[in-house]
Amino acid sequence: MFKKTWIRNLLVITVLLGIFLGLAVNTVQPRGNLSFLEKGLRIAASPFQHGFRAVDGAVSGFFTYFTDKEKLQQENEELKQQLSQLNSELTQMSEISMENIRLRELLNYKEETRGQFQLQLAGIIAENNTNLQHTITLDRGSNDGIQTGMTVLNHSGLIGRITAVLPESSEVMLLPDRESAVGARVWSTREVIGVVEGEGSVSSTLQIIHLPHDADLYVGDILVTSGLDEVFPGGIQIGEITAIEYSANGLTKTATVKPYVNFNRLEEVFILMNSRGGNA
């Protein structure tokens, strides 16, 4: 009886393993379209993500208060001394803040009507950073004209590309994702040097592997997208080369690239609306 149960369990586990491994293998490459079930679940999660995101700042601020209590008390003493000075600056800061809002609106307007590089501002509503994937969810979807393959960037440089689109949200595969790759050229020499790849961690660097030993590349070189991969448009800043290592046999070398974008501090991003197929 006990043996029978074991055989049955083993059979069920084997069948389920086969089914789900098959599914996983079939979905290992980035897909343009999500399945009906995935779309349904993510659409259902979207209002919760928007709602929870709103309280996220308040909750994290609450806990930070307790963890940094001693530091805050010390700062509080210093701040008391600066209070009179800050009061006078407060009025000035309010003016600057309001001016900033106005300038931001003007900038959006200017960018939208520019024609060649039409940018759509988007906020991040969820982040899914594991060892296997690095993605973020934006609050813009197909209702805003977002399509799969569009480039995502900010003022610092390239962030990633849209890999899935829902009516009210979209998912972005970040540059540090292991599946992410972008054709790059050296900004100063315009030489196309290869493909910058993610290493799988948002806090770490990017890399270019299998470079010829005589590739014209130096520490400090600035890299921009080449546009030749037909995924990302050319000329967008990627990062700076921080180290070059030769392989043991000296035939190839690997360059380490520090991205300009801080992927741990992403809050608002731009979606390049006319970037599909590298035509921007």
């Binding site: 491994l21 979905t27 290992v28 897909r31 679940l41 929870f52 996220d56 982040e127 799988g200």
Partner: protein, 161 residues
């Protein structure tokens, strides 16, 4: 009805993990509510039911957030199945043992995730995976008493009645 509640809690747990707990992340760690639920359900209901709930909730997680559909279903299913074997041997009145079970399950889940990721062609470092599991395990351990209390109350009341 009971299953529906479990799915709803798991659904909200996944959304919370990717939103609110991003801001409360400690050393990159976030709680895995689905894993905690699967382990405790398995402890009270045995390996078969634990395994099936693991597969179902893991699949839900894959469909909601994953790019690789099936990986979490496999890992959580096997964790549920394994955790279910402690059903008869575990002192369910001792709250420390289930906390340890969640820690072990967190690392077990990381190892399984690594193995199956490599099997499907993913490029994940085992060391990175295990080190990043430490804050996850601490977070899971902190939440485990709350979940265990709810599961304990529910399943022991049901048994008594």
């Amino acid at each position: 009805m009971r299953v529906l509640v479990l799915f709803l809690v798991a659904f909200l747990g996944i959304v919370l993990r990717d939103t609110v707990f991003n801001g409360l992340s400690v050393a990159g760690g976030k709680p895995d509510f689905v894993l905690i639920m699967v382990v405790y359900f398995a402890i009270f209901r045995g390996s078969v039911q634990g395994g099936f709930l693991g597969v179902a909730l893991g699949l839900l997680e894959d469909l909601m957030t994953g790019r690789f559909i099936g990986i979490n279903a496999i890992c959580k299913g096997l964790i549920g199945f394994a955790a279910g074997y402690s059903e008869r041997n575990l002192h369910k009145n001792n709250f420390v043992v289930p906390m340890v079970a969640v820690i072990v399950a967190t690392f077990g889940n990381a190892v399984l995730y690594f193995l199956f990721s490599v099997l499907i062609g993913g490029n994940v470092g085992l060391n990175t995976m295990l080190f990043s599991s430490i804050p996850d395990a601490v977070y899971n351990m902190c939440f485990s008493p709350v979940f265990y209390a709810v599961f304990y109350r529910f399943f022991t009341n049901k048994t008594n009645s």
